[in-house]
């Protein structure tokens, strides 16, 4: 059901997560400590890590280096040479033997302004923590450096007045993270929305392409008998056995009922073999009338004949003008049936055509053309054109030609019946103007 998440999106997700992690970790990275000689010349630069306890000054701390005595600083340390207070004093203490905070507390008690504790086993730098309650009373900052750097410092000749600058990393400020968090959050949200939208879209498309059970029931089910033209179900590749229920799709492809129903209701409403739509033109089920759109869709085919059998009387042997067309154009489709009956009748008896024109008045005008079957010639059908030309002179129906009789009848209930028998209409005594056709005139036209 869940559409596959594209690879690039997944990558983006991972990238965002990593970025966020890095962002959060930035303040934890080690700060640096710079060693200067007496002429303020930088001789070394080493990484350090501030302790978790004690204050963390915002300004870099500049001070003289002193060595702790005892080196581990677990007991009281000798104080600094207080004669020089131009700079602060920083004491270097070895790790081990006791807790970090004890060492720092001792340095603080001795009057140092900061403490450096160096590792003794490796160059690893860890932010110093403390297990005892002493750390609450620590008021000086302290940092940790690695083993190599620590021994480097021990080697220095203190007479040469080396100084240190301890650069404190800026304290972690959640405020600066907020914009990032907002941006990332928006990105995440957008991605999530996009994903949800895509999923909904896919779900809808899938749903639209599936077949409803109502439509499924319309498809014929057959019990397989030996000798049927179907042999193998294309889905499960099993041969049909006697009495098995198979469903035959409109494209004449057959499948097991359990195989095809799953496909049709869960996947697509097409034949799996030929991809033909089961119900042409029902791609949107909520169209107002199914039959109309169906015929509409068929007609859009480029190979559909322009003149269909129901659209043309000429297919039924009479090549006369198709008044079905006129009827449809006037917009009264119900009349076309009566016209059809008339032409059917005409084909049997005499080739006369009638057209029903429903005008604004409640009258029906039958335009009837009488011809003898003997003199009938398909070529003479252009008389109709003349009749139509006659229309021009009068906005109402007025077709008077030698070959026509215009019979007006008040719109009867049995419209089709009266239309079907023009002779009967005349004999009913409904008023009409009738002119017998002139054979001679017709002959001249045929020349």
């Amino acid at each position: 059901m869940m559409p596959d998440v594209p690879v690039h999106k997944a990558r983006l997700c991972v990238f965002a997560v990593i970025n966020l992690a890095i962002l959060l970790n930035v303040p934890r990275l080690e700060a640096t400590m710079i060693v200067l000689n007496a002429t303020s010349w930088q001789i070394a630069k080493m990484p350090d890590a501030p302790a978790r306890f004690g204050p963390r000054p915002s300004e870099p701390l500049h001070g003289y280096l002193a060595f702790a005595d005892p080196v581990h600083g677990c007991t009281n340390i000798k104080g600094p040479n207080v004669t020089s207070r131009t700079l602060q004093w920083i004491v270097l203490i070895k790790r081990d033997k006791c807790d970090f905070d004890v060492k720092v507390k001792n340095a603080q008690d001795a009057g140092y302004d900061a403490a450096i504790i160096h590792n003794v086993e490796s160059d690893d730098i860890i932010p110093m923590g403390s297990g005892s309650v002493l750390h609450d009373r620590v008021t000086i900052p302290s940092v940790m450096i690695g083993k190599t750097d620590g021994y480097f410092l021990w080697e220095l000749n203190l007479k040469l007045n080396y100084t240190l600058i301890i650069d404190w990393p800026p304290p972690f400020n959640p405020g600066i993270l907020l914009p990032f968090a907002i941006v990332m959050g928006i990105c995440f949200l957008l991605m999530l929305l996009l994903l949800v939208a895509k999923w909904i879209q896919g779900y809808r498309r899938e749903r639209r392409s599936r077949l409803s059970t109502k439509h499924l029931k319309k498809l014929p089910i057959k019990k397989f008998k030996k000798g049927d033209q179907y042999d193998v179900c294309a889905i499960c590749l099993d041969e049909y056995e006697d009495g098995e229920k198979i469903r035959v799709l409109p494209c004449a492809h057959a499948y097991h009922i359990k195989c095809i129903d799953h496909w049709l209701t869960k996947r697509k409403r097409t034949c799996p073999i030929c991809k033909r739509k089961l119900f042409p033109g029902d791609h949107d089920t909520d169209s107002e009338s199914g039959t109309e759109s169906e015929s509409d869709n068929e007609a859009t085919n480029e190979v559909a004949p322009l003149l269909t059998a129901q659209n043309s009387n000429s297919r039924r042997g009479y090549s006369g003008t198709n008044y079905r067309l006129g009827g449809a154009a006037i917009g009264d489709a119900s009349d076309s049936s009566s016209v059809d009956t008339v032409s059917d009748y005409d084909c049997l008896a005499t080739p006369s055509t009638s057209v029903d024109v429903h005008g604004s008045s409640a009258n029906t005008v039958h335009l009837i053309r009488n011809e003898d079957s003997s003199s009938y010639d398909s070529d003479s059908d252009h008389i109709h054109m003349l009749a139509a030309v006659g229309n021009e002179q009068n906005p109402s129906i007025q077709i008077v030609d030698d070959h026509y009789e215009v019979v007006t009848t008040p719109l009867p209930a049995d419209d089709a019946g009266s239309a079907a028998s023009p002779e009967a209409t005349g004999s009913k005594g409904l008023w009409g103007l009738q002119k017998n056709r002139d054979r001679r005139d017709n002959d001249t036209e045929e020349v």
Binding site: E302, L306, T321, L325, A328, H384, M385
Partner: protein, 157 residues
């Protein structure tokens, strides 16, 4: 007098056009586009006639094709419809169950037929028989004139 005749598909592709009045190409294109969009949006049950500018447009849909012609206001629209149908019947008779593809591939024949039927915007020949006779004669002439290849001549084609 008929002003012009357009044949276009349901997708709005122009298949045939015949102009009986002088129009600039730009104007023709504009009119065509306008009419096609107007007619394609109309529902099947709507009237086949529509007043357009100071003229009347008569259209009729046959399967996938719309036949649309424009006549003057004094002309009879039923007559125009009749002419359209006559033309369709001619095509049908000539091609035998004509479809849109026939007209696409043999548009010159369709034009010939239209020229036989309508000339200068007026109906020229009402008889289908005569029109088809003329077209058949034309086809025959065309066949005779078509140069045959060497291989075809010797039955190797």
């Amino acid at each position: 007098m008929m002003q012009f005749l357009l044949l276009f598909s349901r997708q709005g592709k122009l298949r045939l056009q015949k102009w009986y009045g002088a129009q600039a190409t730009k104007q023709k294109k504009k009119i065509t586009r306008e009419l096609i969009t107007t007619i394609l949006t109309r529902k099947p049950k709507m009237c086949s006639f529509l007043e357009w500018k100071d003229m009347k447009v008569v259209y009729k849909r046959y399967a996938s094709l719309y036949f649309c012609c424009c006549v003057e206001e004094s002309d009879n629209e039923l007559l125009a419809l009749e002419v359209i149908h006559r033309y369709v019947e001619l095509l049908d008779k000539y091609f035998g169950s004509v479809c849109e593809l026939d007209i696409i591939f043999n548009f010159e024949k369709a034009y010939f037929m239209l020229d036989e039927l309508v000339l200068g915007g007026e109906v020229q020949e009402t008889s289908k028989k005569n029109v088809l006779k003329a077209i058949a004669a034309q086809d025959l002439l065309q066949e005779e004139e078509t140069p045959q290849g060497f291989f075809e001549d010797h039955g190797l084609g």
